[in-house]
């Protein structure tokens, strides 16, 4: 009894098109509510920071106050002597020779190894019976530092006498970077930009800058490591990718991967900031050393040092265009500050480079993107991943070009917009819908908010709708409106030849007289709504109402990361794939049991709907309950998207991305130019989502991404001083938009199927983050006439003083 299958599905397996007619309630296309939604709103959701274990200890991390220094000595004796302290660990205490980890390069020390390379780098760990005891003991660790020269920008990183931050690089890019302080460099050469430039009637150049944005998730890094009797460890953790963590944790602990058992705990937001490890290894080390469960929770201050940030960037662009508005060529140079360790900088460089043209057709390009090693905080994944910085620059250029040509900025964009069949600068043909011009048309066609929208019926001003808001700084006098447009292109899923897959284990059985599907994946629900969608897919494919979502853990195969807009595509695809295999088994069983009673078992196309096996003409053949009996069908399968390939290191050519995602924004702002205050009153968005599996979640993703883009446009920046120290690690000093800063966000959704993707869906979570920022800045430029080449734009950039 019980069928079990494990294996790998062939890539590109043709999905059956069940969704066209499913009647099962709660299936795809419905806005079923998220199970975690109400709990989060009323404050009852259990986050990883709420974890508790009898007799547990609290871990604390001592961090470097210096951005670059040699550690000459560490004295832990006073900390160890403190009552309540169970362990103090430094680099010397690490159990194996494997003392570094990293997403792409293994270059990050678990604990500083003689040198610290950024402000806040972990140096030592303490476990104690109370968090405050651990904190105080850590303060008693005496570390002698000998400060070293600081590398803080391109000039200091590439100077002749620049300190080499990672002298013994053995990563796969080490051989072809022009300088050891360059993490990765990706040029793309296509056509002949110099030659094409001769055809240009106008040439426009610009230098742009993007500040360091933080993911600003609300749930700080936290988790609980519980030592097990077999010498292994159980780790309960908030992360984006359990198996990637596992791959990095196990070797440091000296344990085989099967002895490190990980379970996803409640995640309070991620946005890329949980792709890298934070306290995972630290908690495990302390638990193994003390034999007791160890919990670590960062406070907000520490959280700003506990995860990577969005790469700050400097971007230089040149575009040419003919009088009739066709772009002739593009040259650009994008310099990303990767900070002290590689994190996902190489992939960010790949994105910045390959998406640097934007969603436009430009045949002749000369592109260079690179990430630096510096002593600034490490930067890595954040929603939009390299495409955000580029989009701010190329969209600023589009407006500049249109202005120089005397053209409407939307028409100019539409004239150059890519569509299906277009060739990317990498040579890749865009082989699914790319409705760029249509998205621009949609946002332009939306009605504009009324002029003087702050006026109430009685003629008074609603100051909440004005710049300065409740501060009462204006009642409308001196307020200038501006409208700006932007559109962006984002890749979906892992690129550049990465073996990207997800795994789903689905069981179907009768429980309490009802067919019940259990879906088990390692997908991290970080708030994106993935568990809701997985259940919808199982209902649609298996025709059952009852779906149990098993907690995500490492007892099932990898789901890949909850990032790159990929989980609905990948884990959704894996669930669909496993359900299809289950369905085949059900029908096999059905034929065996009942095939002789009705010819349709052999001749018709059969579906599972409403707990029954039905024919494609809706004739019920059997109840699932009767077909299954006491059989448990249990299948675990890996599922892959079609393979991609690496970009050529010299020309940047290659089929690098599996899918593209497009969104466009129109921003309407009111600016108080006297006081430099901006009120974004509307940020309309149009996006092609392929297929909206859960329309409400789609809208939520678009709203969230739009607001995150607004934050980068007008307020969000981690301030890193020239000495490479972080200045504003708090939500009092690092500002994120509140609801009063959040505009109306009307959304238009297109559903143009991508035939390569499950249900034709398109990853959606990131694209709107891209275009939101340049649209807002374009609108402020329109209102003020200022060039505004750097984000975030603050009052002092508008007051002209």
């Amino acid at each position: 009894m019980g069928t079990q299958m494990r294996g790998t599905a062939a890539p590109g397996r043709t999905p059956t098109s069940l969704s066209r007619r499913s009647r099962t309630k709660g299936g795809i296309g419905e806005s079923t509510l998220r199970p975690d939604g109400t709990l989060k709103v009323i404050g009852e959701f259990a986050y990883s920071s709420d974890l508790w274990h009898e007799d547990m200890l609290w871990g604390f991390t001592l961090r470097s106050p210096h951005p670059h220094a040699r550690i000459t000595s560490i004295d832990i004796s006073k900390a160890l002597a403190q009552a309540g302290v169970h362990a103090v660990l430094t680099h010397d205490d690490l159990p194996t020779a494997h003392t570094q980890y990293g997403l792409e390069y293994t270059d990050t020390p678990v604990l500083a190894d003689g040198v610290v390379r950024h402000h806040g780098e972990p140096v030592a760990l303490v476990a104690a019976d109370h968090p405050e005891t651990a904190r105080r003991a850590a303060a008693k660790i005496k570390v002698d530092y000998e400060p070293l020269p600081v590398v803080h920008d391109e000039a200091s990183a590439l100077a002749d006498d620049a300190p080499i931050l990672h002298p013994n690089r053995d990563d796969h890019h080490a051989g072809h970077v022009p300088h050891p302080n360059i993490v990765h460099r990706q040029p793309i050469i296509r056509g002949n930009a110099a030659e094409a430039a001769k055809r240009a009637d106008v040439i426009v150049t610009g230098e742009y800058e993007v500040g360091m944005q933080d993911q600003a998730f609300l749930g700080p890094e936290s988790g609980l490591a519980v030592p097990a009797e077999d010498g292994g460890i159980d780790l309960y953790i908030a992360t984006q990718w359990l198996h990637s963590d596992l791959r990095q944790i196990a070797p440091v602990l000296g344990l085989p991967e099967e002895k490190v058992r990980m379970t996803l705990s409640g995640v309070g937001g991620a946005f890329g900031g949980r792709e890298d490890l934070s306290m995972q290894i630290h908690a495990c080390l302390l638990a193994l050393r003390t034999g007791k469960p160890v919990k670590i929770v960062y406070n907000r201050f520490e959280s700003f040092f506990g995860h990577v940030h969005r790469h700050p960037a400097k971007l230089w662009y040149e575009h040419g265009a003919t009088k009739d508005g066709k772009i002739t060529h593009m040259k650009c140079r994008i310099v990303l500050d990767g900070g002290a360790y590689a994190s996902s900088s190489p992939a960010v460089v790949g994105n910045a480079s390959s998406l640097s043209v934007g969603p436009y057709v430009v045949d002749d390009v000369e592109i260079e993107a690179l990430a630096l090693y510096t002593n600034n905080p490490p930067c890595g994944a954040m929603r939009g991943f390299g495409a955000v910085q580029a989009c701010f620059a190329y969209e600023s250029q589009m407006d500049k070009l249109a202005e120089k040509l005397g053209m409407d900025p939307v028409e100019f964009r539409q004239k150059n917009a890519m569509s299906q069949g277009a060739i990317m600068p990498t040579g890749q043909i865009v082989d699914s819908p790319a409705p760029v011009a249509e998205l621009l048309r949609l946002i332009k066609a939306m009605p504009l908010p009324p002029e003087k929208q702050w006026e109430t019926a009685r003629g008074a001003a609603d100051v909440r709708a004005l710049p300065g808001g409740l501060s009462n700084t204006t009642h409308g006098e001196g307020v200038v409106r501006g409208v700006g447009y932007a559109v962006g292109i984002k890749n979906v899923g892992f690129s550049e030849g990465f073996d990207d897959y997800s795994t789903a284990r689905v069981q179907l059985q009768v429980i309490g007289g009802e067919p019940v599907a259990t879906v088990h994946t390692a997908m991290a629900e970080v708030g994106q709504g993935g568990i809701t969608v997985n259940a919808q897919i199982a209902r649609t494919e298996l025709g059952v109402t009852q779906v149990v979502i098993h907690p995500a853990d490492t007892q099932v195969g990898s789901a890949g990361s909850t990032s790159a807009s990929r989980q609905t595509y990948m884990t959704g695809g894996a669930v669909k794939n496993a359900c299809e295999a289950i369905r085949e088994k059900v029908l096999e069983t059905g034929r065996r049991k009942f095939g002789t009673y009705h010819p349709a078992w052999a001749t018709a196309e059969l579906l599972l709907e409403d707990g029954k096996v039905v024919t494609d003409s809706d004739e019920p053949l059997a109840d699932l309950v009767d077909v299954l009996g006491d059989e448990v069908i249990d299948i675990e399968l890996q599922w892959r998207h079609r393979p991609t390939e690496a970009f050529d290191p010299v020309t940047g050519q290659g089929f690098g991305h599996v899918q593209y995602s497009f969104a466009a924004h129109r921003a309407v702002v009111e600016v108080d130019t006297e006081l430099g205050l901006v009120k974004v009153i509307e940020l309309a968005c149009a996006q092609d989502v392929g297929k909206a599996l859960n329309p409400l979640s789609v809208k939520g993703q678009i709203h969230g991404a739009t607001v995150q883009g607004l934050g980068l446009a007008v307020m969000e920046e981690i301030i890193v001083a020239k000495d490479a120290k972080v200045c504003n690690p708090s939500f009092t000093d690092y500002l994120i938009p509140t609801i009063l800063d959040t505009p109306a966000i009307p959304v238009e959704v297109l559903e143009l199927a991508d035939e390569h993707a499950p249900y034709g869906l398109r990853g959606i979570g990131e694209a709107p983050t891209l275009s939101s920022t340049p649209a807002v800045v374009a609108a402020i430029r329109a209102a003020t006439g200022l060039p505004l080449v750097r984000v975030p734009v603050r009052p002092e950039h508008i007051t002209g003083t």
Binding site: P65, R464, G469, A721, C727, L740, E796, T801
Partner: protein, 333 residues
Amino acid sequence: MKTFRYERPADPAAAVTLVAGTPGARYLAGGTNLVDLMKLGVETPELLVDVSRLPFGEVEETDTGGLRIGAAVRGSRLAAHLLVRERYPALSQALLSGASAQLRNAATIGGNLLQRTRCLYFQDVSKPCNKRRPGSGCPAREGAHRDLAVLGASEHCIATNTSDLAVALAALDATVHLTGPAGVRSLPLTDLYRLPGDEPERDTVLRHGELITSVELPPPPHSARSRAPLMVYRKVRDRASYAFALVSVAAVLDVRDAAVHEVRLAFGGLAARPWRAREAEQALQGRPATEEAFVEAVRTELSACRPLRENGYKLALAERLAVAVLADLAGQG
């Protein structure tokens, strides 16, 4: 957080005795600022003396028609108080723009006045700061200082006072009543705060053990014609809510026969104390209430500004904000 003792004495005299007799003792009221700073290690008191339940919780009209506000009154209560909203609306505006509802519910008036600066370097114990650790240096001068002082700063410190309430009270000619080991005394609110000079660690002139018991306001100024209190508090900040002032202005203006009969003007966000613009007030007294006069007067006041690399924009911002506020008030009168 460092270990501390906690006491909740039954009467003010006992509280004063406790704090005065213990070096490193601090009064605790709402705790919204002090406790945060203790968590960060910025404040490390030996003893906390809780004064939040002492009998300073009343808002009363004075015999002269002014208002006495107990130091333990919560911000939310004062902001919503009928007398305040009718007679001193600028005070209500300042409180409402100062913090979230949760903070206003906890924070007291006395505590609000004694909140410490939000200089990024003061908050971070891993960095030098003359206010936190005298003599350690002031990295803000060379570092991140776009929100710091342009008036009255010293080479040792460029921190600003971040209380919105204090700016409004400064413009309203508030008096602060104190009790202490040497008895009671009263000070104009503007004299409570000090400029950093070479002792930036001292924010106020309070002596150890002195406790704010109440704040007293003179009767509100009234326009001869409308009897409406002509006053306003306005704040420019980086986002719509929950952010400190880049610049703020509190102003009282009474215009009679098109001339300035009475004016009081105070700036926030520019200095280590709420900056009462006495030069501007003097320049305007009796002058025609015109925009030109306002501009000229405010410029006179701000001519003392000594901006640094990143905070020079505050001058224009302060001028424009003050002139707009005065012009609005003049127009209403």
